[in-house]
Symmetry: D2
Subunit: 248 residues, 4 copies
């Protein structure tokens, strides 16, 4: 199965805050399809959000909400134990803020992709994943749920279906997968691909819908979108490389 027709590029954007800049959003925008925009709880402030939404509109880039644990000091990278009802309200606040600010600019937010520790926690903890999906499902907009493709398509889709949600699966171009479909920890050697391996992984994902795991096994991995990183100009070069590969 070839998925080259629809493979999208998504990137976390709008992660500046106040006087602090992060990322090279303007350079990234021309190459991506989907902007995951921070909603103020790990990064992004109202001015940054408005500016990023406008930039996404200018570049015809689709917009997703990128909500987080309430953790500005830790950039949302710290796990927090929250009652499910609190987590749901916290996510709905962030989603509502971005959706409303987007509407003001004539933009429809299309999906929700949790950030950082919440994303990681959600991928391994069904209760947290349920809370995230319930938060999205209770929103009065038809927002898709973006999660990591881990091979368990049936489980993931049926879980989401129970909440009435459409799932968008994302994969990673530059990260090595283990045999269970999880990312190899960055702490480990070989966790992050060089340019050549990265492009090979993208090609394999597009042409064969699979990745080669750290142990050399072939694992089917069907994804809708590829997560790329726009932290700096080196990142932008990688994104441009992947864009060219996809557009061929």
């Amino acid at each position: 199965m070839k998925s080259s027709m629809q493979l999208l590029l998504n990137c976390d954007l709008g992660e500046s805050f106040g006087a602090w800049r992060m990322g090279v959003d303007e350079q990234v925008m021309p190459f991506i399809d989907q902007a995951n925009i921070a909603c103020g709880f790990h990064a992004g402030d109202p001015m940054v959000m408005k500016h990023t939404l406008q930039a996404a509109k200018n570049h015809n880039v689709a917009v997703g909400a990128h909500p987080s644990y309430p953790d500005l000091g830790g950039f949302g990278r710290r796990s927090m134990t929250l009652p499910a009802a609190d987590l749901i309200a916290i996510l709905q606040y962030q989603i509502a803020a971005l959706v409303g600010m987007a509407n003001n600019l004539g933009i429809q937010v299309e999906y929700v992709k949790p950030h950082g520790a919440l994303y990681n926690d959600m991928m391994v903890n069904g209760l947290i994943r349920s809370a995230v999906m319930q938060a999205i499902a209770e929103t009065d907009r038809p927002l898709a749920f973006m999660m990591q493709a881990n091979g368990d398509y049936e489980t993931n889709r049926s879980e989401a279906k129970a909440f009435g949600l459409k799932v968008m699966f994302e994969g990673f171009a530059d990260r090595c997968y283990d045999d269970r479909g999880a990312l190899v920890s960055r702490a480990q050697m070989g966790a992050v691909h060089n340019r050549e391996k990265m492009l090979a992984q993208v090609t394999q994902l597009m042409e064969h819908g699979s990745v080669t795991t750290e142990n050399g096994h072939l694992m089917p991995l069907h994804i809708d979108s590829l997560c790329v990183h726009g932290d700096n100009l080196a990142g932008v070069e990688s994104i441009a490389d992947i864009r060219r590969l996809i557009d061929q």
Copy 2:
């Protein structure tokens, strides 16, 4: 002109935060028509907002956004100098968050009433008032702008009209007015009415559309809504008294 038919009661609600309680919202709800709900920047957190919205719905109380300067530590009572574009984005974020969370519960937010120092600053500073009105006008919902009735109806209405906004004028039951239509400072003797004078002021507002100022002058004051205070059970008694007076 009698305005007794349409005089509404509005109250600032949802001003708890995290573990801290403020106000006796549940006791107030049965007596009021409009709840000004904090949006998280001076008070209110996502859980409090959701709970307050649900309570307003249960009591068939209309909902307004009650946004503030970003000042949790000062409860929005500290003036802050903000570039207009920043203030606008900060207000739109708060409005969007409340509007979206309300929509999730099937509630339409009807108006915006700024809080605390922002409210006071806006009443004396045309640039700040313009920024507030622009923030509301750019919102993709038809939200009214609630401001203090100060006698300058024509100016206020024409300003709002320039932004395409409907104005709702509010007055105060328990506060003494000066001859210019402003509230006498709380620091001054006689600034806050006792029960008898408060009810007399409400009667005068309803029956004659006027107040008697601190100097004994009669000043026309046409209002749409009366601001009442639900900080404690004594406040609730006053609200109940005013409710009975209005409903007679």
Copy 3:
């Protein structure tokens, strides 16, 4: 062994924040020996801290720092995963702020007692406990470390000794203990004693240095200080009762 001579009462105080009040600190102060004062990260702001320090001085109450995870929205009740070095710096900041503000008033802070989720996490996780102890040990003041008495005196004392710290063990008057020396979860029936059982537990702690666990076993529990709760006036009555019992 009778410990009635030195059994102290400690209470979490200074947990108001901005416009929000919590606790009846003024009523509690006359009855306690040690005030655990919030340092601004779960509660307490600079004004509240200064006021609480002055009140402690007026009542001749000893002062301890009561630092927390950085979690104002969750009142420090949410566990957070923090690198040890970050947790240490976060604690040292809070301790330094309270120590310095106390010094300005001529008060010496005597000990550190972690708050909420950090306290609970520290009692079951040796790595977090080590980070807490290192944070205290690196402070240029001889601050004691207050922790929960759980029966493992030798382990606890030797751990603290490795960091050069003096330990103060605290117990609870109104909470039922399980056989391992931990508190029975509040979610369980019988977790919180009524007045009679509470006073009996205090008497037993003073006279016999033991508690009777949920299963009726006698467990030795030697404590330096008893944690009492000043959330409301009912709490103050309990504290006054315990004070009278101790002073007999």
Copy 4:
């Protein structure tokens, strides 16, 4: 009068926060004498503060507290109206946090220089300046007060003397002065000197204790320290240039 012997260079440092970097502190440290370290209210978090203190110690750079209005979202550049007692407590908290963390590393904090909007407000508003000086005076350490040299030495010194404080006057190398000793607004043409004019101004300050104002007048300006900017590598070059000039 030559002041070349004692002219010091001070720089605002430690203004990163969480995941966000600001400034090139490591590059600046070798060239300066005094580091004004952010205390967590406009920038700086406990980890950044600890790291910056250690770096200052390594480079044998003196340390000053650089406290701010509580305004992380606005980087302390927004004026805020605060009761004097609140401002005093807010400053003392920040000063105490930095002083204590410095003490833990064997460093004595030497002075306090307010940041951003607070600095500007203090220079034009005597009530705010009094609150700042009182905050410092109540601190149990002999901290000097760093303020802008504006020509009113007698007034400034006598004000500070009333609080028992030593003043350190600072000047600016790259900013044009007006005839009253204030900085020409950055919004105006010619407000910021090019390299040549900057070095000429430093030479004139050292050799003649004066500046040439925007209108070409000679104005006496005796300073203890010169404020330099380490935002980026271009800034570091300027600092290195000034360092060489001073050390000649």
